[in-house]
Symmetry: C2
Subunit: 224 residues, 2 copies
């Protein structure tokens, strides 16, 4: 949209944005989506910050990395800011996703409703257990691992989720990289390495519990 | 230890530490534990920062919230800093944990090795499915939900993990609060509310994928 061109972010310029800022974008997005469902149309930086436990200066500074979004005397238009944040995070587009490892965690992830809502759509699952291959779980077909390269290419899959045991994680990650995947979300409780052109996010569920034990010890209400 | 008394944090004073700092403590801890396994004994703030993609000033500033840990000309003693961070996060003690909801996700969490390593020990699981009650999964017994108050008290359980469907999350959270739990880790894809004396950490797995799509779009290597 031409009228929007001044606000459109130059994607290449965001590589140096601190990770904590990107993380907070996800929280702003969730809160704005929640507000819109309640019928709220505009919100000030101090109101948005207050709902999330941040200062208004923090909210303005975070968003300023990506453009100018507020209107004097009005604040942010919720729908507009949602659209902008989704564009920045990349969830304004659909991301075809592959899951590798159809154990309990993998099965739970295939059924997780929150992914599709944000544009992440499972195209295929992979496992090397013959009992699982050929099954359809949450509408997603389970393929044998050997077919990874072919299926990733034919479904134009960009992201891979690793839900395999720690011992298999690096080998499967290598296969995903070879198949041309652009990003890996690793749930296996082990550190893996990927080449520079591939993005990696490692999920360590114990860290969430550590944040909780800190909060309990030091009486913080809620963390985000 | 008397000689350590000057460094011992006053727990009440940490309530105002920014969440992002607490979050980074978990990353420092993981990296230090990794270094110690490799035989490294001391590390400078710039080396530690470099390994995690932070500046040395950031590392020093983060740790300064909690005390003075470095030695001039030496840097940090890894084992000592691990001990300090675990004490700050509360993972120098064991946290008895209850899991509610023994579906695929709950079963996966019961088998997750990373929790016990950081001091989080499942004492009991709960489900209202008669087929699951009485089972032992990952060494943990599954009780009916009605027995929650009694089992939480008898096992001195302090933290609860919610792995129930969204529709049941608030009701189960209320039961955990009534039973005297101090903190809740919520995996259900819905926002719940708890009274001020209870800490809450909500896990939104789609947020991790958003961080990954951002990284892929903007070519960030790795997020943490």
């Amino acid at each position: 949209m031409a009228s929007n061109s001044k606000r459109k972010p130059t994607q290449a310029s965001f590589g140096s944005v601190p990770q904590a800022v990107v993380n907070r974008l996800s929280y702003y997005l969730r809160e704005l989506q929640h507000l819109v469902r309640q019928g709220v149309q505009t919100i000030s930086s101090s109101q948005l910050g207050q709902r999330l436990g941040f200062t208004d200066a923090q909210v303005r500074k975070d968003l300023a990395y990506f453009g100018q979004f507020g209107y004097p005397g009005i604040g942010y238009r919720c729908e507009e800011l949602i659209t902008a944040i989704r564009r920045i995070l990349g969830t304004d587009q659909q991301w075809p996703v592959a899951l590798v490892g159809v154990g309990n965690l993998g099965t739970a992830l295939l059924g997780y409703k929150g992914f599709a809502q944000q544009g992440f759509v499972f195209q295929a699952a992979f496992d090397n257990d013959p009992a699982k291959v050929g099954m359809t779980l949450g509408g997603v077909k389970v393929y044998p691992l050997e077919r990874l390269p072919e299926v990733v290419r034919s479904h134009k899959i960009r992201l891979g989720i690793l839900a395999v045991p720690a011992s298999a994680a690096q080998e499967v990650a290598d296969r995903l990289v070879e198949a041309g995947i652009q990003g890996i979300l690793n749930f296996a409780p082990v550190t893996i390495t990927v080449p520079p052109q591939v993005s990696l996010v490692e999920v360590d569920l114990a860290m969430e519990l550590e944040q909780l034990s800190f909060a309990v010890l030091h009486r913080q209400r809620k963390t985000c």
